[in-house]
C-alpha cells in the first residue's frame, strides 16, 4: 500500500445509521465474516487467502477473511455461475484444480509451497499462471491456467471492492438510501461524502 489514500479521515461505515435496514445488514455482515468454510479445505482456504492478498495488494486480515469466506460461500452455493465457457470445468472443480495448480507451480519454480514464498516470488508464480506460461504443465491438463486465473481474479475483486474498509480507502460514497444525493454536479459534494482535505 505504497500509494497514499486520498481520504485518510473517511470511514463510510460511520454513515450506516443512515442506510436502510436491509443494506445495513448486508454490509455489516462483511465486517464479521465466517472463518469456518463449507467447501474449501483448511489448506485450500489458507492458500487462497495468500493468493488473494497478492491479487489485491492488501494484507488486512479482516478484509482477506471476508474475501475468502465469500468465495467459499459461492463455491458451496447451488446458485449458478451465470455462464461457463465450454471446456472449462465447473467452478467448484476449477477452484480445486486451480489451487492445486498454484501449489504445483510454486514447487516447480521455487521448490517450496506458495505460502512460504516472498511477496515477489508469489507475484512471479501468479504472473506465470495469468499468462498461461506455466512450468508445471501437468497440473493444468484439466483446467487451463488462464481460465482459473480469470475466474479467481474476478471473484476476488468483486468481493474485495464490496468491503466497507475498501470503500473508505477509495472514497466511495456507498449505500445511499433513503437519502439519495442532493449535490451531484461537478465540484459539489453532500456533507457526508469523502473530502480530500480530510474534513
Amino acid at each position: 500500500m505504497a500509494k497514499h489514500r486520498r481520504y485518510p479521515a473517511y470511514d463510510v461505515w460511520e454513515e450506516h445509521a443512515n442506510w436502510d435496514v436491509h443494506t445495513r445488514q448486508i454490509v455489516g455482515a462483511r465486517k464479521m465474516p465466517q472463518v469456518a468454510h463449507s467447501y474449501l479445505l483448511p489448506a485450500e482456504a489458507l492458500l487462497l487467502q495468500a493468493i488473494v492478498s497478492v491479487l489485491v495488494d492488501d494484507h488486512r486480515l479482516e478484509v482477506l477473511t471476508f474475501v475468502v469466506a465469500h468465495i467459499d460461500e459461492s463455491l458451496a452455493s447451488p446458485v449458478g455461475e451465470s455462464q461457463r465457457k465450454v471446456g472449462v470445468p465447473e467452478k467448484k472443480q476449477l477452484y480445486r484444480l486451480g489451487l492445486a495448480g498454484v501449489e504445483a507451480e510454486s514447487h516447480a519454480e521455487f521448490g517450496c509451497e506458495f505460502g512460504a514464498l516472498s511477496a515477489g516470488d508469489q507475484e512471479q508464480v501468479l504472473k506465470r499462471i495469468s499468462g498461461g506460461s506455466v512450468k508445471e504443465q501437468e497440473a493444468w491438463t484439466h483446467a487451463a491456467a488462464v481460465d482459473f486465473f480469470k475466474k479467481l481474479l474476478h471473484d476476488t475483486v468483486q468481493a474485495y471492492y464490496s468491503h466497507p474498509l475498501v470503500w473508505s480507502d477509495i472514497g466511495y460514497g456507498g449505500p445511499a438510501y433513503p437519502r439519495g444525493y442532493v449535490r451531484v454536479e461537478k465540484g459539489l459534494t453532500d456533507p457526508w461524502e469523502a473530502k480530500a482535505n480530510g474534513e
Binding site: 505504497a2 500509494k3 497514499h4 489514500r5 486520498r6 436502510d20 436491509h22 443494506t23 448486508i26 497478492v54 491479487l55 489485491v56 495488494d57 465469500h70 446458485v79 449458478g80 455461475e81 451465470s82 455462464q83 461457463r84 465457457k85 465450454v86 465447473e90 501468479l126 495469468s130 486465473f149 480469470k150 481474479l153 474476478h154 475483486v157 468483486q158 468481493a159 474485495y160 471492492y161 464490496s162 475498501v166 470503500w167 480507502d169 477509495i170 472514497g171 466511495y172 460514497g173 456507498g174 449505500p175 445511499a176 438510501y177 433513503p178 437519502r179 439519495g180 444525493y181 442532493v182 451531484v184 454536479e185 461537478k186 465540484g187 459539489l188 459534494t189 461524502e193 469523502a194 480530500a196
Partner: protein, 545 residues
C-alpha cells in the same frame, strides 16, 4: 417471509399467495392466455390483455420482489436480480450473461436496467434496403410509432424537449432530468468542444411525481433495483396493474415444456417448489428472453415438430445479437465521483447512421455512464480489450483514484449472423432441462464499428480533460433468436409475434428482433408487446386464433 407485518408492498397479497402458501390458482382449468416470463414484454401484455377482459396467467421463474425488503444499495448482493443459472458460452467472443443482460423475477430485466429509453430509427427497420447488411423487418418505424407514443406516455418517460436524431424529435411526456451528474456534464462539455451534439438521456425514470411514485433522488443504484420506485419496472407498474385487472401472476414457477394438442398449443408444464403443474390456455405467449424462449421451443420437440416447436424454418435460436458495449475509463485532474446520480444522464447519437467513408455499416450511441467499485474494478481487472489482466499494486493504485475517473460507454449495433445462436447442450439442469449453449463471435463489420467507437470515446474523453486509461471489452443486451419476418422459411414469427407454424403460439420480447440497432432496446420491446396485445385482443374477440 411470513406476511403478518404491515403492508409495504402493493402486491403483498399476491406475493404471499403465489410463492408462500402453496399454489392457489385462479384459472386452474384453463386461461385465455398464458404468458411465460414477467419481464418488459410480459408485463405490458399481461396488463393490456387483462384490461381487455381476457383471463390471463403469467408464469415467472423467479421471485416476486419487494423493493423495500429485497433490494439493497449494494452491487455484490444484488447480482441475484439476474438470471444466474449456468449457461454454457462458446464462440470467439463468449458472452457474459447474468447481470450483464438478463433479469429473473417479476419485472425481469426492467428491475435492474439503467432506464435509458430510446426509440429505434427508421433505418433500423430496413438495414438490408438502406445499407445492404442485416435484414429488413416486416414492419417500419411508422408501424411502431403509435406504440412508442403510448408506452412513453403511459410510464411518463422524462427527456429533452428536442431530440435531434431519428424520426422522433420530442418532446417527451415528462420534463428533462435536472440536475445531471458531473460525469454527464463533463461528457456534454467534451462533446460540445468537438462539435458533437449531445442530450440529456430520455429515461424511464421520473423527473416529477407520477401515479403515486416520487421523482428520482439520484441514489444511483438503478442496476441494483430502484428502492424509491422512481424508475419504471414491470414489477411496480405493469404487473400490479395487470393483477388489478384480474390477471394471475405466479412467481417461482419455471416453465419446462410447451404442451401440444395436434397442431396447436394447449398449455405449458411448469415446476413450482419441486412439483410439476400444468396450465392450459387458448393462447401461449413466450416472453422469456433471448436464451430461455428458444430453449423452451427446442426442448418441446414432438414427433410432429421434431426440430422443436415453431422451427420449421430452422431459425429458432439463430441470429442472436448483443450490443457491443465497450467502455473507456479516463482519469481526470478533478473529482468525477462516478457513483453519484442516475448512471446514464447524457448521450449522443451523432454516430448513429451509416457513413460509408468510415468503412463499416450502421452505427452507435455513446453514453456517459456511472460506475461503482465492483463494476469498475471487475471490468478493468478482468475484461480488458487487450486481453491482459490488471491486479496487485497496479489495480490497487488505480482504484485509489476511483473518484478521479470518468466513463463513456458504447451501445453499438451488432449485425445478425446465423452462427451466433442458442442451442441445447448435453448437460441438464435440476429440472432435467438441457442447459442452453450460447455461441457468439463478432463479425468484421461489428469489429470495425466498435473500434471506431473506441476511437471516438477516447477523443471525447480527452476533450473532457481526461486521459483514457482503460478500455473494457463488454457487451450489453441480447436480441434475436426468434426473429420476425414475412417469409416463414426464414423467420420464426410474423410481424405480430405469431408463430408461422402454430397459430396460437406467440413470442414477445427482444427475441423477435431482426436487427439490434444501436439503441438500448427496452422501449422497442415494450412497444412491440403493446402492438402484439392489440392484434391478439382483436383476434381473440373474433375467435381468430
Amino acid at each position: 417471509m411470513a406476511n403478518n407485518d404491515e403492508k409495504r408492498h402493493p402486491n403483498e397479497a399476491d406475493r404471499a399467495r403465489s410463492s408462500q402458501d402453496g399454489l392457489v390458482r385462479k384459472y386452474a382449468e384453463e386461461a385465455d392466455v398464458c404468458i411465460v416470463g414477467a419481464g418488459a414484454a410480459g408485463g405490458v401484455l399481461a396488463y393490456e390483455l387483462a384490461k381487455a377482459g381476457l383471463r390471463v396467467v403469467v408464469l415467472e421463474a423467479g421471485p416476486f420482489w419487494d423493493p423495500q425488503r429485497d433490494f439493497a444499495s449494494d452491487e455484490l448482493s444484488m447480482q441475484r436480480l439476474a438470471w444466474q443459472e449456468t449457461r454454457l458460452v462458446a464462440g470467439n467472443d463468449p458472452l457474459r450473461l447474468g447481470h450483464n443482460n438478463s433479469g429473473r423475477g417479476i419485472g425481469g430485466g426492467t428491475v435492474h436496467f439503467t432506464g435509458v429509453f430510446l426509440r429505434f430509427h427508421e433505418s433500423d427497420f430496413m438495414t438490408r434496403t438502406a445499407d445492404g447488411v442485416g435484414e429488413d423487418w416486416p414492419i417500419t418505424y411508422h408501424d411502431l410509432a403509435p406504440y412508442y407514443d403510448k408506452i412513453e406516455r403511459e410510464i411518463a418517460v422524462s427527456g429533452p424537449h428536442h431530440f435531434p436524431w431519428g424520426a422522433f424529435q420530442g418532446p417527451y411526456p415528462y420534463p428533462v432530468r435536472e440536475p445531471i451528474s458531473a460525469n454527464a456534464q463533463l461528457f456534454r462539455e467534451g462533446c460540445d468542444k468537438l462539435g458533437i451534439e449531445s442530450v440529456v438521456a430520455p429515461l424511464a425514470i421520473l423527473s416529477a411525481p407520477f401515479d403515486g411514485r416520487p421523482p428520482c433522488i439520484n441514489r444511483g443504484f438503478c442496476n441494483q433495483g430502484c428502492m424509491p420506485n422512481a424508475k419504471y419496472s414491470g414489477l411496480i407498474h405493469h404487473i400490479p396493474k395487470a393483477i388489478a385487472e384480474g390477471a394471475e401472476v405466479l412467481s417461482d414457477c419455471t416453465v419446462t415444456e410447451i404442451l401440444m394438442a395436434g397442431d396447436r398449443v394447449s398449455g405449458v408444464l411448469f415446476s413450482h417448489q419441486g412439483l410439476m403443474h400444468r396450465q392450459m390456455a387458448r393462447v401461449v405467449i413466450l416472453a422469456g428472453f433471448v436464451v430461455e424462449t428458444p430453449r423452451l421451443l427446442l426442448n418441446s420437440a414432438t414427433s410432429r415438430f421434431p426440430q422443436g416447436l415453431a422451427n420449421s424454418s430452422g431459425w429458432v435460436g439463430k441470429a442472436i445479437m448483443p450490443h457491443s458495449s465497450h467502455d473507456v475509463y479516463g482519469r481526470l485532474p478533478e473529482e468525477v465521483r462516478l457513483y453519484k446520480g442516475t448512471p446514464v444522464l447524457a448521450l449522443t447519437q451523432h454516430f448513429y447512421e451509416t457513413e460509408r467513408e468510415r468503412g463499416f455499416a450502421r452505427g452507435y450511441t455513446l453514453s456517459a455512464h456511472g460506475s461503482r467499485p465492483v463494476g469498475m474494478a471487475g471490468a478493468i481487472a478482468t475484461e480488458r480489450e487487450d486481453k491482459t489482466f490488471l491486479w496487485g499494486k497496479q489495480l490497487r493504485e488505480t482504484m485509489l483514484d476511483y473518484n478521479m475517473y470518468a466513463r463513456i460507454t458504447l451501445v453499438g449495433e451488432v449485425l445478425p449472423h446465423p452462427d451466433n445462436a442458442v442451442t441445447l447442450s448435453g448437460e441438464k439442469d435440476e429440472n432435467g432441462m438441457p442447459i442452453p449453449k450460447v455461441t457468439f463471435s463478432y463479425q468484421e463489420n461489428d469489429r470495425k464499428l466498435y473500434q471506431h467507437a473506441i476511437g471516438q470515446m477516447n477523443r471525447i474523453m480527452e476533450a473532457m480533460g481526461g486521459k483514457p486509461e482503460h478500455v473494457v471489452s463488454d457487451t450489453a443486451h441480447l436480441m434475436g433468436g426468434c426473429r420476425m419476418g414475412n417469409n416463414p422459411e426464414q423467420s420464426v414469427v410474423n410481424e405480430f409475434g405469431q408463430s408461422h407454424d402454430i397459430p396460437n403460439l406467440f413470442i414477445a420480447g427482444a427475441s423477435t428482433f431482426v436487427t439490434s440497432s444501436g439503441s438500448n432496446p427496452t422501449n422497442t420491446v415494450m412497444a412491440l408487446a403493446a402492438r402484439t396485445a392489440d392484434k391478439l385482443i382483436e383476434a381473440m374477440q373474433q375467435r381468430d386464433v
